[in-house]
Symmetry: C2
Subunit: 450 residues, 2 copies
């Protein structure tokens, strides 16, 4: 048996991920030592309540409520408390104490990343955060190292398991959002307060982290355009299916190059239509995937569990091993890139394709009017499908019920556009709504992934 140097590891937090990390550190100590080249001694676990129930059976003597004292003298501090405070204070304390930090805290990094990384730079410490971007999926090292000689053009990520689970069930069962959300909550796939997931806040934090890495720049959270999935209903899913699409909550990170060569980026989270033949369309249940397009490498996809205590613990422990190797090697940095400061464009400047669904009067000349408004608005039509709507207003119900309730009857227009500027598109949709021939704008969805 090799005689390894011992490194002192402090764990902050013992929730779903933290308790699994502690359990694996204790169970697989010998194997981890072979991987790391150092014995990893779990010095203690800082928690708010020493007596709280944990997911794993851990020695009671490891627990303490005094994070500050635990941190001092530690070589590696694992922060799994989540949230901004006291996580931020403890992470900065750990860095100041000379420790490397491993964290899964996407909220902290998306809002105070610069502060944390600068503090680490100043003392030569490292911050590892594989688990903060896409749970168990190894995406940090591929973006930071493997693709460092390439240029990432675009990322499309399914980075929130709860919303993918909900959208996938809606797609499979034709169910409505509220029903599936209630079931997801009952099964533990969604929180009692689902806002962070269903409104896209969680995905936006991960998008900021991924874009920062991919484009070697700093992306503040407020530069991320964010829309959630609460407005997605069964009719939209059915209509998407009919057109060969599936609706996914996507985090899109894009590099834009102006004609004069000036570069900017767009980072946005919204429900979008994805072609059913696209690799992202086959990401089911609570799984995540990050689809990366790079100039030389072409299309890459990274797939796996985006959440889960033990799955995320895998990513955390990979970081702990990396931190330990760094300590043994003498504290040399992992070689982060020089960071640019690429401007993030507002959502209005984004160029993508759209699917516009309208209810219009079913009478002659309406399509010409609609097409004219689109053309004036610099929105070019790629496809149009018109169907007559029965009075029940349920497009999915094809049984011939009573005649039309309105005088002229209604039709549904599904318009697929070529690439258009978001601002042109939204102004055009406003003009359509006010045109007199459009009864209702049913939905406007972006189409991503060519």
């Amino acid at each position: 048996m090799t005689d390894y140097r011992t490194l002192r590891v402090a764990l902050l937090g013992a929730g779903a991920v933290g308790s699994q990390v502690a359990d694996l550190l204790l169970k697989h100590g010998a194997e981890l030592a072979d991987r790391a080249g150092a014995t990893l001694e779990l010095a203690g676990i800082a928690v708010r309540d020493v007596d709280a129930k944990r997911d794993a059976d851990l020695p009671r003597e490891l627990f303490t409520t005094d994070a500050e004292t635990l941190i001092v003298g530690s070589d590696i501090v694992i922060e799994l408390m989540g949230g901004i405070e006291p996580a931020r204070t403890q992470v900065l304390h750990a860095i100041a104490s000379g420790a490397d930090v491993v964290t899964a805290n996407k909220a902290l990094l998306a809002t105070h990343g610069s502060e944390v990384f600068e503090a680490a730079d100043q003392v030569g410490a490292e911050v590892y955060y594989e688990a903060a971007a896409a749970g168990a999926i190894p995406i940090i090292r591929p973006l930071r190292d493997s693709l460092a000689g390439d240029r990432v053009v675009r990322i499309m990520g399914i980075v929130n398991g709860t919303t993918n689970y909900i959208l996938d069930r809606m797609d499979n069962e034709g169910a409505d959002f509220a029903d599936v959300l209630a079931q997801a909550q009952a099964l533990g796939y969604a929180e009692a307060d689902p806002t962070a997931d269903v409104e896209g806040y969680d995905a936006a934090q991960k998008a900021a982290i991924l874009a920062s890495l991919a484009f070697h720049t700093t992306v503040p959270l407020d530069a991320v355009h964010r829309e959630g999935i609460t407005s997605v209903d069964a009719a939209m899913i059915e209509s998407a299916r009919h057109a060969g699409y599936v609706i996914k909550l996507l985090a899109v990170c894009e590099r834009l190059t102006a004609e004069d060569g000036a570069e900017s980026i767009s980072v946005r989270v919204y429900p979008a239509l994805v072609d059913r033949a696209h690799p992202l369309a086959s990401v089911h249940g609570a799984n995540n995937a990050v689809f990366v397009q790079a100039e030389a490498a072409g299309d890459l996809m990274f797939y796996g569990a985006g959440a889960g205590g033990v799955q995320t613990a895998s990513a955390v422990l990979g970081d702990v091993v990396s931190a330990a190797r760094r300590h043994i090697a003498g504290g040399v940095g992992v070689g982060e890139s020089t960071r640019a400061n690429l401007p993030a464009v507002p959502i209005g400047h984004v160029i993508t394709r759209y699917q516009i669904t309208l209810e219009v009067d079913d009478k002659p000349g309406v399509l010409a009017t609609v097409a004219g408004i689109l053309s004036e608005g610099r929105v070019s039509i790629a496809t149009v499908e018109q169907t007559v709507i029965e009075a029940s207003a349920d497009a999915a119900d094809s049984s011939a019920s009573a005649g039309s309730a309105t005088g002229a009857g209604s039709a549904r227009l599904v318009i697929g556009t070529h690439k258009a500027r978001e601002q042109d598109l939204s102004e055009t949709v406003e003009r359509l709504a006010a045109s007199g021939v459009v009864e209702r704008v049913v939905s406007v969805l972006r189409v991503e992934g060519n």
Copy 2:
């Protein structure tokens, strides 16, 4: 503009990948410098014939036939010659000269990996080989670093683009192997001599590299069981489709744990049945994917281009940036794991599921006889499907042609087994063939991926 230190880079080989690497190094110099923290100066390109035609327009003065002199004084040597010699000699020369080596040479690493890595260890040099395992797909760093705190249980990889292209077209078109191979050769997807691809030699080399990394052990190439796809025909593909499977050439790397806790591994390459709902089933064309199952992380998949000059160049340049960062940081190692020496079990000890397709006499008692032989051989039946075969002997042709040509007529039996030991299975198949009731063993295929 930052004032960077200059690192001298020597390139050996200017084929499809090498010429793209040179082109990108020259074109993206400033951006690569920001990534690497060093200016990467392409000192020269060693080739056999200075005047040969290249895929990229490169300055003639960079070319030399004197690799040995070019290597001396270089900080990073990129070996893209392929093959064992003179690649091996030049790589060892580069290491001895104090350079780090970046290589895409799977043949070299699979056969002389230990020699190369030991030589590097002795002088504190590093060998980077992201492009040797799965082309442009970042798989080395995820296995070596991201999953270093986890335990990989199994890898199933589609790691050869040519064979995936052939099998995918056979699946889409119902075409036969020889026809699709000829088309693939005409289109440049397959070499004039396709042996290395279609006989599984290329996949076996990559399997040895992946298994070595995943299990932190040394896997010699001759420990890899290898079968190619030349025996796969249209009828097998059709029969697989009927049963809900697709045939893929898989590189399977498996960790086996005996009851007493002793560990061994199995590494094998063969055409196998994969459930159509499995993520690997949707890997089309010449794309590659590596599906990884780890104890904590669960199922992960890495997808992308497995070959191609510019795609592979992306992986090579990622390694060059890593090597440069290491030089700038002062030459500290990347922290490879301690290596175990896990024994590789022979193919006969492998346990998996099988699909056995037999032509049998269509008369009473045959199924009982077949079932009896399987049971004696410790092969447990999961599913059986029996269909009567017309005299045309074309199972896919359901038109009622002339009656049976043999006296009793023939039936086709497709037997899906539960997990069985390969040796039990092959002995059982031999007994079936000799039983008198089996006219022909049509195919025996492994079923992978649960």
